[in-house]
Symmetry: D3
Subunit: 67 residues, 6 copies
């Protein structure tokens, strides 16, 4: 406890994954939860499978970059 599921576009760099996992864990450590108790799961979702405003992100946000 806690378990954190992160839905993001596919293509996240290894460095960004490290920062997401480390950063989210620290948020919980700062409110008193032991780091070992924090599990973070990053679900990478292809932009074709992500809809926003009724359109695929692969079309609507074609030029948006993944961190």
């Amino acid at each position: 406890m806690p378990v954190v599921v992160v839905y993001m576009w596919k293509g996240v760099s290894d460095n960004a994954k490290k920062r997401i996992i480390g950063g989210i864990t620290r948020v919980f450590v700062e409110i008193g939860i032991p780091a070992e108790a924090v599990e973070v799961v990053i679900e990478e979702v292809p932009k074709e499978n992500w809809g926003i405003g009724g359109e695929q992100a692969s079309e609507k946000l074609k030029h948006a970059e993944v961190p």
Copy 2:
């Protein structure tokens, strides 16, 4: 708001993805939510990883097609 996560078998066509994203967004627009606020995430799951009635869909529903 809202966020909609759709779990389906893997292999959904691009046309079906468009219709799922567009159609689900419209459902919320019709009850008064702005389209821009609707996020849809399609999680494609291999049939081997989907159980129904205690068996893998890849065996139990071998001939069922993905839209």
Copy 3:
């Protein structure tokens, strides 16, 4: 198949729930999936528990209404 999980703010009317469940199911029926195979789960989340732009929706979007 499919399973659809909808995250929304708490306080959705019964009428809106019916329209969400009926409308999402129809989207899948229209791409060839039998209605009986569609499961929709509405997770109502208190606005205090929903963050957008780093703030609770209960503060940032205090006057936004739930359908």
Copy 4:
């Protein structure tokens, strides 16, 4: 994008919710994502409904406190 779902034990204080939402959003801002694009959903789960090591957290971790 991203959408972050946090599963925690029920009873989180309003202050902790603010810090979780603010802190997680900052993690993504620091890797280049606009704050407005980050949605965080906190799912509070009663300790009776949370299992760890095969037992309910309400029994196994009776004295553990929620932040």
Copy 5:
């Protein structure tokens, strides 16, 4: 690892929760995972919020009982 999220209708008895948590954990222990690594989260969803075949379970399956 693993994290198991169970979506069920609201009203699950404490005894059923114990059996679900214990039983699911054992499934993973039997394939070689330590019990301590297994987290199970039971999300109880009101029947009004659960759609099947396009209708609320509270109407369509009015007489179905929760274990």
Copy 6:
């Protein structure tokens, strides 16, 4: 009802998938739910995308095996 989502590290053998799906379904059958009503979804997550104690499982638990 129920729907069970299992998050695990990627690389689960077909035999383990069968045992997870069959075993979890049996847990619900034993509390009175028909097997046909149980859906199990296994989400395989690369160890690089799984954080525990603030680190990627691919580093922290490099030698841990997937069942």
